[in-house]
């Protein structure tokens, strides 16, 4: 733990310095706030791009451990979950592949140059104010160029300090415990340093054995010989996490700034696939240690009446240590990844209804490892975007053109293309046909691509040379309607329905490149996705103190594999539904509040899926549905406020796999105690 002490001291010093620099700029004249988060239903209605958001009470009530759990309630999202608290959790939005989803933490993208996938299990909901998902990009043009550069984006908005009348501190202490031997204390301390500067400190420690029972039952419908039914305990799923964050929020004349320091340290076991094994054969003793540090700052300011600017900077350092003891080989792999990011966004209002934005971003990634024959890849990426928006009372149009410029270098030059330059456009529009009705029609078209990740280029199986990869392209078309209204005084409803068509070409897939053992990544895939997303919500105050709210989501996805095949007649994967995408999926969330009581019930359904594009019985994964229930009660004792919550997850104890051979836990419990003062 000595290292942690050092880190805390370092964070405090650095932030003191940052605060000092900005404090000089304090101006108590009228502050023009350019609010990042205006969390109202009205805001969602104005979005041109389909957005789904969980925030406030609904997010708080949600019995979920991490951001990944919250995202399951969005339509069009498939979560890949390898089980348990420590298991890897990634999302696939509208079937385009996990690497196409950008994840933004407080406005700055979380990069993963190594594999392009962000493990959402690592981000806790404790200090989260809102989780939003945008298909395409956020429909605000005043943002960094990187925000234009993903096929879909998840925004994790952390809590901005808020204080009770006349108070300068807000402290929340939380303790969670429950199944899997979970111990999870956390502290949130918000402090007003001066009228214009506020700080937030959040520290979390998590420890869990990750042990749970699972069951595989296979029936024999043919005859009386029966099938098999086996129960075992999931082991090596233990996890220990320490995370600390310190953020400062400040206001200056005509703007605001914020800065954040983040440190994450974890050690976890990786339980392997549950497959046939002889006793003691595969003990699944793979382990991983992660250390992640980042510091990010941004400043927004109104320069003149019609001109705004935003500066953003980030440095991130990742250390990964992977240990695997198979019977023939002991792996001790270390990776370090550096990430430097700078951005400048500038918006000009030209006419009252017309504004223009120009943003330029730069990112540098470098990776190092102790594995033999490592290539030490480095990547410089520049993004420049020109965006414009026209805003009339009933019609909104936005258009942007993003230029991406990539330069790579690696130790071993093997005649590989190192420079890439691409221009990708986006256009979005929203129209309100009747001024008196809050009913909108919207549509967007977006072209985007992703660069192959370092893993895909340099760490493919068994050190093969697979650096001939091109970027992977995604093209998206979307049309939809949004409605919000109210029936009577106390009853609000809203809903959105979108239909879309996505096409992913040059999809990067692992393919055999030679004799066995040797695999290569190739740009061979072609996937066409047709889908429908439906999201409906309602909230009401039935009488006096009883409040009800509900959300229902449904997704239909037909995601077909059009990867060219040599022999059509013999190939059953062609036009098959791609791996792990259900045709039908949905969720429902109900919340009820009565005085100091809160109740939340959630239901998730995922239809049958296939592990591969060959939709055959061998590859089928059964559908699953879970019911989760949470009940909480608040108390007051003098100036202290308590809240106790009991969660029961997977009420019906359904045995299910999200990823085949990675069993999920049955019924499990969690107890949460909050102390606020």
């Amino acid at each position: 733990m000595r290292r942690s002490h050092f880190i805390i001291a370092f964070l405090a010093t650095l932030n003191g310095f940052v605060a000092g620099v900005f404090a000089r700029d304090i101006d108590t004249v009228r502050v023009h706030e350019i609010q990042e988060v205006t969390v109202t239903a009205d805001r969602i209605r104005r979005e041109i791009i389909p957005v789904q958001r969980l925030e406030g009470k609904l997010l708080e009530r949600l019995s979920s451990h991490s951001v990944a759990d919250a995202l399951r309630y969005f339509s069009g999202v498939q979560l890949k979950d390898y089980g348990g608290i420590g298991g890897l959790k990634t999302v696939n939005i509208r079937s385009m592949g996990s690497q196409h989803a950008g994840v933004f933490y407080d406005g700055v993208e979380i990069g993963n140059a190594q594999n392009g996938v962000v493990d959402l299990g690592r981000y806790s909901l404790d200090n989260m104010e809102a989780v939003s998902l945008y298909n395409g990009q956020k429909s605000s043009i005043f943002q960094p160029a990187k925000d234009f550069a993903s096929a879909s984006s998840i925004y994790l908005t952390t809590r901005v300090p808020r204080f009770a009348e006349g108070k300068n501190d807000h402290i929340k202490i939380t303790f969670k415990t429950g199944s899997f031997d979970l111990i999870d204390p956390s502290l949130l301390w918000e402090h007003r340093i001066s009228p214009n500067i506020q700080s937030s400190l959040n520290a979390v420690y998590t420890n869990s054995s990750g042990k749970y029972k699972f069951r595989y039952k296979v029936n024999n419908p043919r005859d009386a010989r029966g099938g098999y039914d086996t129960t075992a305990v999931r082991k090596n799923g233990d996890i220990e996490i320490f995370r600390i964050e310190y953020a400062l929020f400040g206001k200056i004349s005509g703007g605001e700034w914020k800065t954040r320091l983040y440190y994450y340290d974890s050690e976890r076991g990786y339980p392997g696939a549950v497959v046939k094994e002889e006793p003691g054969r595969m003990k699944h003793e793979d382990r991983q240690k992660d250390r992640n540090f980042f510091s990010q700052s941004s400043l927004k300011k109104r320069i003149s009446e019609n001109c705004f600017t935003q500066l953003t900077g980030k440095y991130a350092y990742d250390y990964i240590y992977y240990e695997s003891d198979t019977l023939i080989q002991k792996l001790r792999n270390k990776y370090t990844i550096h990430d430097v990011y700078l951005s400048s966004a500038n918006m000009f209002g030209i006419l009252p209804f017309w504004s223009v934005n120009v943003s330029a971003d730069y990112r540098w990634n470098g990776m190092d490892s102790n594995i033999p024959m490592f290539n030490y890849p480095q990547r410089h990426t520049g993004w420049v975007v020109a965006a414009t928006s026209f805003h009339w009372p009933r019609l909104n149009v936005q258009a942007s053109l993003l230029g991406t410029f990539v330069h790579e270098s690696a130790k071993e030059e093997i005649g590989v293309r190192r420079d890439w330059k691409r221009y990708t456009p986006t256009i979005l529009a929203s129209w309100q046909p009747w001024p008196e009705q809050r009913f909108f029609l919207r549509a967007f078209y977006k072209d985007i691509f992703r660069m192959p990740t370092f893993s895909e280029i340099y760490l493919a199986y068994m050190g093969s040379l697979s650096s001939y990869l091109k970027p992977e392209y995604a093209r998206q078309f979307n049309m939809g309607v949004v409605y919000s209204g109210n029936i009577g005084k106390n009853f609000d409803i809203d809903g959105q329905v979108d239909v879309y068509y996505n096409r992913v070409r040059d999809k990067i897939l692992a393919r055999p490149g030679g004799v066995n053992f040797r695999w290569t990544m190739k740009n061979v895939g072609l996937v066409k996705i047709r889908g429908v997303d439906v999201a409906l919500g309602a909230s009401s105050r039935i009488w006096k103190d009883l409040k009800l709210s509900g959300k229902v989501n449904y997704s239909y996805q037909k995601a077909q594999d059009y990867t060219p095949v040599e022999v059509l007649s013999d190939t059953i994967s062609y036009k098959g539904q791609i791996s792990y995408i259900p045709r039908h999926s949905g969720s429902a969330l109900f919340g009820a509040g009565y005085k100091t009581w809160d109740l939340s019930y959630s239901f998730i359904y995922t239809g049958k899926r296939y592990t591969e594009s060959s939709n055959i019985p061998e590859n089928k994964v059964l559908e699953w549905y879970t019911h989760d229930l949470a009940i909480s009660k608040s108390f007051r004792w003098d100036k202290l406020q308590f809240k106790a919550t009991v969660e029961v997850n997977n009420l019906l104890n359904q045995a299910y796999d999200v990823v085949k051979n990675y069993p999920m836990p049955g019924t499990n419990f969690k107890f949460i105690f909050h102390l606020i003062f």
Binding site: Y216, L327, I328, M462, A510, R511, G514, V515, N516, Y625
Partner: protein, 393 residues
Amino acid sequence: MIQRIFYFGSILFLVSVSLFTSCRGDEEEIIPPGVTPVAPGESGPVKGFFLLNEANMGSNKASIDYFDSESGKYYKNIYPTINPNVVHELGDVGNDIKIYGGKLYAVINVSGYIEVMDVHTAKHTHSITVPNCRYIIFDRGYAYVSSYNGPVSIDPDIPLGCVVKIDTVTMEEVGRVAVGYQPEEMVIRGNKLYVANSGGYRVPDYDHTVSVIALNDFTGEQKRITVGINLHRMKLDNDSNIYVGSRGDYRNSPSNTYIIDRNDMVRRKLDLPCSSMALGGDSMYVCSVEWSNITLKNTVTYAIVNTKTQAVVSRRFITDDTDQQIVVPYGIAIHPETRDIYVTDAKDYMNPGVLYCFDRYGKRKWAQVTGDAPAHIVFTRRSLQNPEILESN
């Protein structure tokens, strides 16, 4: 009114959802065997063959297919139906299949065991634990299994490989001998066992040797023959020459084929890439799949080596252009009586492959979709007599 409908609707929804989910109609079920008539029936001493599909690590999808010559029917994935009570079926990465003394043996690499079945029924009889087992061969009542998991020697992190000796009556291990790194295929010539050492997990320090073990005492390696880099395949011809396939290092040294003569000397280097081999009479059928960084494509080669002259006599044994359709020729087998040629196409290894049957002149007779990564074929002279399978249609 609308509000009431909403509340009522919500309650109805909750109740129906609860009822609907209390019993999931669709339970996990034994995967049925697929039956396809692929060929007209043929009679002869060879009654059919078993095909072992490797499947990927962690997939638990290794499977056995059976072809019945007399009816011409192809039975896909027969094991779960015949053995519904075996937990987690066959496991994964099937690596070898052989028949000896009324038993069918399937070597399952990552699951680390040898599945022993009755050859007449394919019913499970034994399973023998051999961690990281690769190939199996038989001699005078004993099975010999190559395994990556031997004793620790120089580098404590990388153990040597070994050959495990198993009594086929008791199905118990009776001894083991350490060999080189990551041993692969074996042949038995006279009283000696030869095993090809790959060193495949020691990139870039591959092994180059064939280990020789005397079977009469089975106490240790008699000697090592230096052959070539990253050895894998091994076949014995009718004149007791040993053909050894080298995988190469995928970078500078290409795959190659060597011949060890009766005096344990490396007699010839054929300059022929080799990823699989099968003997038919005096012809060694060799195919190879190699990735080329120049053409950015797999280079697939087929060849026939005349074992009398030890020269490549043909660069083509599929003569009707079906080879244009084969992405990855992964396994090859020659029918011992008819000399029909069987080639499996592993395609992308993730999805089902295809088995092609050609006549001795290389003309396509039939093709059939298999399990994932079809690779190993063993011909049987006793037809499968299992009612669960034969009656399924």
